[in-house]
């Protein structure tokens, strides 16, 4: 089983989807059982994914649980999967959030339940596939495959403007990933393979050298796809709409996992395959990241809709991740990885909370609420804790990542003014307090002003059960991050040493200069 563990983890949710379909064909089927089947499969999947930790050595990088078989012989595409310290936690984050997403739909989803749970299953398989693919074509297919179920989840089970949001989401991300496809094919023509590890090996040890111009375009194509997914300012406008219109489970998965596919891709492919270009682009990426941190927070502050507020806060938080990645320091990249996990947990939780009050009131407008702590003390307490985690309170998960990212960018040699960038980014933490506390005050605290809120039922056992694992994780990740950081260190270091390594005898400035020279030469050649 060791050898096929990853494949099983990818396919189990898909098998769950098929099982649901098979069950639906039974004459004695009951619609209410679909979710049980989906939940069962997702829980087993989560349990299996925990076995991946067992293989994780704290000391070494490299891929484990590797499975590599020829897939499309004629083009040399392989089914090549494996997990390292970077993808490990993202896989587990995905398998953890799936059962939570399913249970959050328990009473919220009434129409077309079969299709709903089938899509969730397919989505889970695709997302896990993205994180473990070591073949570029396979990666691309999973990347695209995750798009389709999410498109339907938003488009069918979404809110009032679901069609607009779904189409916007689809077009935005599809455009980005098509560019990536072109880049992947280009790499195939240069290296004759889709295999990530083979290409990487060829690049580091005397394979065909890429001209700076080629690298430039390849980097840009990958980066464009991933930055849309993250989303990095100014490519973010699909996110508020998609989040706001998606059903709760959709928002949880979108924020929790889908966005991470972007930052994961940046780390794995942009930093991993094109370190020189990553250095070139660092000032641009960091500038956009810092703008995104502040911009996302400021726009979040003035949102009248809770869900939209959380969505814009994601733009801000994910800006931190990009900042950390492009600092090219161990602290920055480890922090970025940690921030991905922390954001998945705490923003996932925040969307659940929004879902709870939406189910009760069928509105997400902040002005409709107020004083919920009186009718809903449990909801309020837990919601406040999750918000504090999002604010980055120490000993909750948000702090560790953001702090490490800032420490990394502060000491970064990737840009000219790392301290100024960090100081600006640091104001994002102030803004986070502003928009979250302001929202809390208008939703949770104060007097009950709207009589409709006066008798809202507090969270029930199912809802509390949903939230508690996430809250426990927030605290645990805040107090004992070593469990995670130790297991990702070696893999992060492998990529970082490549990208942070200045070319022989030079600083970054020299590297930039020499790269510029190359570009000029290429330009001559082109003429």
């Amino acid at each position: 089983m060791q050898h096929h563990l990853l494949t099983i983890i990818i396919l189990l949710p898909v098998a769950g989807a098929l099982a649901t379909v098979a069950y639906s064909l039974l004459p004695s089927k009951r619609e209410s059982n679909y979710k049980w089947i989906a939940l069962g499969f997702s829980l087993v999947d989560f349990a299996l994914s925990l076995f991946l930790i067992r293989g994780a050595q704290t000391g070494s990088g490299g891929f484990r649980f590797v499975e590599d078989v020829l897939w499309i012989g004629s083009i040399g595409a392989h089914y090549h999967v494996g997990v390292d310290g970077i993808s490990l936690w993202l896989v587990i984050l995905t398998t953890l959030l799936m059962p939570i997403a399913i249970v959050s739909s328990w009473t919220a989803i009434h129409k077309r339940q079969l299709a709903y749970y089938v899509f969730l299953g397919l989505l889970a398989g695709a997302m896990i596939g993205v994180f473990v693919s070591l073949d570029l074509l396979l990666f691309y297919l999973f990347f695209e495959a995750s798009l389709v179920p999410m498109f339907f989840l938003i488009g069918i089970w979404g809110g009032e403007r679901r069609i607009y949001a779904a189409v916007k989401f689809f077009i935005y991300t599809a455009v980005g990933s098509l560019l990536m496809l072109v880049a992947i094919i280009a790499l195939f023509y240069i290296y004759g393979t889709f295999d990530y590890t083979t290409i990487l090996a060829a690049m580091t040890s005397g394979g065909p050298a890429l001209s700076a111009q080629t690298q430039f375009w390849l980097f840009l194509a990958f980066a464009f796809a991933f930055c849309i997914k993250i989303p990095l300012f100014p490519l973010h406008t699909w996110l508020p709409d998609a989040h706001t219109e998606a059903p709760t489970a959709g928002s949880v998965i979108l924020a929790g996992v889908l966005l991470k596919m972007g930052t994961y891709g940046l780390l794995r492919f942009n930093l991993g395959l094109f370190p020189e270009m990553a250095r070139e682009f660092a000032p641009v990426m960091i500038t956009l990241a810092v703008i995104g941190i502040i911009y996302g927070a400021l726009v979040a502050m003035v949102q009248p809709d809770v869900k939209r507020l959380v969505a814009y806060s994601s733009v801000s938080h994910m800006g931190f991740v990009v900042l950390g990645l492009f600092s090219f320091t161990e602290m920055g990249i480890q922090g970025a990885l940690y921030q991905m996990l922390a954001h998945g947990v705490s923003t996932g939780a925040l969307f659940l909370f929004v879902g709870f009050i939406y189910e009760r009131r069928h509105t997400r407008m902040i002005s409709e609420f107020g004083g919920l702590s009186t009718p809903m003390p449990w909801f309020s307490t837990l919601f406040v804790i999750a918000s504090l985690s999002s604010i980055g309170l120490p000993f909750l998960n948000g702090f560790v990542g953001e702090f490490l990212i800032m420490l990394g960018s502060w000491t970064s040699g990737a840009i000219q003014y790392p301290r100024a960038a960090t100081m600006l980014a640091g104001t994002g933490v102030i803004w986070a307090a502003v928009y979250m506390l302001w929202m809390l005050q208008r939703v949770v605290f104060g007097k009950v002003t709207n009589p409709e809120n006066a008798n809202l039922p507090d969270l029930n056992a199912r809802e509390i059960g949903l939230i508690i694992p996430l809250l426990a994780l927030m605290v645990f990740m805040g107090v004992y991050p070593r469990v995670f950081l130790d297991r990702s260190r070696a893999s992060v270091e492998e990529i970082r040493t490549r990208v942070a390594q200045p070319p022989a005898g030079g600083s970054f400035a020299d590297a930039r200069r020499s790269a510029d020279g190359l570009t000029a030469e290429d330009a001559k050649h082109a003429k």
């Binding site: 499309i72 004629s74 083009i75 074509l137 695209e144 389709v148 498109f151 488009g155 069609i163 607009y164 189409v167 916007k168 599809a174 094919i185 100014p234 406008t237 911009y295 400021l298 726009v299 502050m301 003035v302 949102q303 320091t329 602290m331 480890q334 922090g335 004083g371 009186t374 504090l388 309170l393 120490p394 000993f395 560790v400 702090f403 490490l404 800032m406 420490l407 502060w410 000491t411 301290r419 960090t422 100081m423 640091g426 104001t427 933490v429 102030i430 307090a433 502003v434 506390l437 302001w438 005050q441 605290f445 104060g446 007097k447 107090v479 004992y480 991050p481 070593r482 950081l485 260190r489």
Partner: protein
């Protein structure tokens, strides 16, 4: 790999290590018990006992660890002291960066832990009476215990990052407790304002922390620890930077990225937490919380955390004369500014709040002058008398059925004799009447200002100017405290007059906090408070009266004894860095002969007590380093201080005894309109700009507008999107299927070709 347990020092046993963490975890356990069990039981006895005893345990352990023979603060052997460590786990370790969850009690944190736990305990006891019959009793004490946990973490942390945990933790508890009356709008506003203003300061703290890490990393030993841990190779920040040259005394140094930058950034953090200009605005509003909270958090402990942090980092500050100058200026300005506002407030808690801001200004003035010991001394005496005054005001408010407006008080000394008598000592202490605690600490600061050298002041005239501001503030302090006492305890019994006459005043607490006193609008007989409230008052009154004797300066002590002992100086001396004596200082510093350090003194480490501290303590106990001229000058100045205090009390008495309701200047009553100015110039523009500019104009207008324009072109040419929007799900499915087929077809094609 646990530094605390691998230390060469032998006489610290494992047991004591673990006891140290019990100081912080006992209140945490209390908070958890009250939150989970107390919530169910709703039994005030149970909740009160859990809350008080958990803090009681902390107090006992803190006293034991600090004062036992060989303890962190052992007074019997000056200079010979070993910090007690307790390393729990390594919290974050990435690359060069390492932050442990480790606690340390040295002389400074030991001193702090003593008064924090003890006053915390008294205030917990007081609060049991004050919060009687409050519906959120369990919640209140859970938060209050949580606060003790955070505050003690802040104090006992052995590195910057763990200190920051406590730093944010006290901010959170402050937020929760200011907003404790959740149904009151202004409580929520005040809580939010406090947290956000603190966050601005926290930004400075974190940036300073990162810069100091970068600096030490640049010196080859990246660290954020306060102490050396030979077992793990973690070095003390202060030991790493102590040999660096002192930064130039220029404005440029602030932005140079050296220790001056660190000091300024850290001071931003301190200014937020300790309510200094321009970040003081949250503290007066924080009075919306219950009064024990104001006493504990917003007077005695949390707000002095900024002072603690600066004193802890004294080694950094003595390298940064520009930063010290800024600290002194801001401190002095805040002291005077807040005192002028305090003189015109009518809410008894607002008077005390501005008084606290003002007194905190004194402490920063002391820090800025390099008188770190005097700053801590004033923190302690202030904790005594300000906690007393706040609790006294709480007792008054309690006895007045939640009336806070002094214009509706008067003549209360007849009804509340114990409260009156105890507050009397607090009043004399803060005014600076000799023997009472505040006199010694305030006088010490004024003397340090008067005699300051030019190490961190542009010219000798600055020292006299700072002294003058301090003295003027002292005068104002005596005046407004006298006004407060007179309006509350003397004069006509205005509480019988009904409430309609002061319609401009909105006292929300009075209207909304009716918790079983049967308080309805109308006339009530004031009554004395129960024992749980008066006993803490009496204890604090004793401390406010005699507490200052721990720090009697040589110049005054030598009147009465041949070998006067200044316990505060003797205790803190070894852990505090001194500013180097300045060459062009005419007056010289009082200890100039004693401390001829060209570079700042090294810190005491756990491995071996440095030689200088032995020297110093020898000098401190036996020698007479004080020149007769200086002693004379200091005595004269002390006499002047007494006169100023007496003058202030006299003025206050003469003016307000007859006319307690005298209309004060509007500008002062309205706090110089600073809140309004902040709203108009900062908050509103940012909110409006974000809403109209960033969101509506840029996000929706520019970005989406651009995309929609493209979309429209596509729609018009193909008509595809229009059909999509008709809502045929099958339509999408078909299109996606087609797309997927196209992709697969492409690969098939390329496969054939390849």
């Amino acid at each position: 790999m646990q530094p605390g347990r691998n230390k060469p020092c032998t006489y610290i046993s494992l047991m004591e290590n673990n006891l140290l963490s019990l100081i912080i975890f006992a209140p945490l356990a209390g908070a958890a018990i009250n939150w989970f069990v107390g919530r169910r039981l709703r039994n005030e006895h149970f909740i009160g006992i859990v809350a008080c005893s958990s803090v009681g345990v902390s107090t006992l352990i803190a006293f034991y660890l600090a004062l036992k023979p060989g303890g962190a603060l052992h007074l019997g052997e000056p200079g010979v002291t070993t910090p007690v460590f307790d390393h729990l786990w390594t919290w974050i370790q990435v690359g060069q960066f390492r932050a442990d969850f480790g606690l340390a009690m040295d002389r400074l944190s030991g001193t702090y832990a003593l008064f924090v736990t003890f006053i915390g305990f008294l205030i917990h006891v007081f609060a049991v009476g004050y919060m009687h019959k409050d519906s959120g009793f369990y919640r209140f004490f859970a938060y209050l215990n949580l606060f003790m946990f955070a505050m003690l973490t802040l104090v006992l942390a052995d590195n910057f990052l763990l200190m920051f945990v406590g730093w944010e933790g006290v901010g959170l508890c402050s937020y929760l407790l200011i907003g404790y009356y959740t149904d009151r709008q202004e409580a929520g506003d005040a809580a939010k304002k406090a947290f956000i203003t603190n966050r601005v300061g926290d930004w400075g703290f974190v940036m300073g922390l990162m810069l100091i890490f970068a600096i030490t990393a640049g010196l080859g030993n990246g660290t954020i620890s306060f102490f050396d841990h030979p077992g793990t190779g973690v070095a003390s920040v202060f030991n790493v930077v102590k040999d660096l040259p002192i930064d130039a005394f220029t404005w440029k140094a602030i932005f140079a990225g050296g220790l001056t930058s660190v000091a300024v950034l850290l001071f931003i953090g301190a200014a937020g937490k300790s309510a200094q200009i321009p970040l003081y605005v949250w503290l007066p509003d924080a009075m919306a919380g219950p009064t024990p909270v104001s006493a504990l958090i917003h007077a005695a402990t949390m707000v002095t955390a900024g002072v603690y942090m600066i004193v802890r980092c004294s080694e950094i500050y003595v390298h940064a004369p520009t930063a010290m100058f800024i600290v002194a200026i801001i401190g002095a300005a805040t002291a005077l500014f807040a005192a002028t506002i305090g003189i015109a407030q009518n809410d008894i808690k607002k008077v005390l709040a501005y008084s606290t801001v003002s007194q905190l200004g004194y402490m920063f003035l002391a820090c800025g002058l390099g008188a770190f010991g005097a700053a801590i001394f004033h923190v302690i005496t202030h904790a005594f008398f300000k906690a007393l005054l706040f609790l006294g005001s709480g007792s008054v408010i309690h006895g007045m059925h939640h009336e806070q407006d002094m214009r509706r008080m008067g003549g209360l000394r007849k009804y509340m004799p114990i409260t009156f008598a105890t507050m009397l000592t607090g009043w004399l202490a803060i005014s600076g009447i000799p023997i009472f605690a505040g006199f010694f600490s305030k006088d010490e600061i004024l003397w340090k200002a008067w005699s300051a050298g030019t190490f961190n002041l542009p010219s000798p005239a600055w020292s006299k100017a700072l002294w003058f501001i301090g003295a003027l503030t002292a005068l104002l302090t005596a005046v407004y405290m006298t006004r407060m006492m007179v309006m509350t305890f003397w004069g006509a019994e205005r509480f019988r007059e009904g409430h309609a006459d002061h319609d401009d005043h909105t006292d929300e607490s009075h209207a909304t906090h009716e918790d079983g006193h049967g308080a309805i609008h109308g006339v009530h007989e004031p009554h004395e408070s129960p024992l749980t409230m008066t006993v803490p008052l009496v204890v604090l009154a004793v401390l406010s009266t005699f507490g200052g004797l721990i720090g009697v300066p040589y110049a005054l002590g030598s009147y009465f004894s041949d070998h006067p002992t200044n316990y505060i100086e003797q205790t803190l001396g070894p852990v505090i860095s001194e500013t180097p004596s300045s060459g062009h200082s005419a007056a010289g510093k009082p200890h100039a002969e004693q401390f001829e350090w060209l570079s700042p003194k090294p810190q005491v480490t756990d491995s071996a007590p440095p030689v200088h501290s032995l020297d110093e303590s020898a000098v401190g106990t036996t020698g007479h380093p004080h020149s007769p001229e200086e002693v004379r000058a200091e005595r004269l100045l002390a006499l002047l201080s007494v006169l100023i205090a007496a003058l202030g009390i006299g003025v206050g008495w003469v003016v307000f005894r007859k006319r307690p309701l005298l209309q004060m200047p509007r500008l002062l009553e309205n706090k110089y309109y600073v809140d309004e100015i902040y709203n108009k110039t900062i908050i509103n523009p940012i909110t409006a700009g974000s809403r109209e500019g960033l969101w509506k104009l840029f996000d929706i207008g520019v970005i989406d507008g651009f995309l929609h324009a493209i979309g429209d072109v596509v729609t018009e040419t193909g008509g595809v999107l229009r059909r999509l929007q008709a809502g045929f799900v099958r339509g999408y499915a078909a299109i996606i299927l087609l797309g997927a087929l196209a992709v697969i077809g492409f690969f098939a094609y390329s496969a054939f070709r390849g």
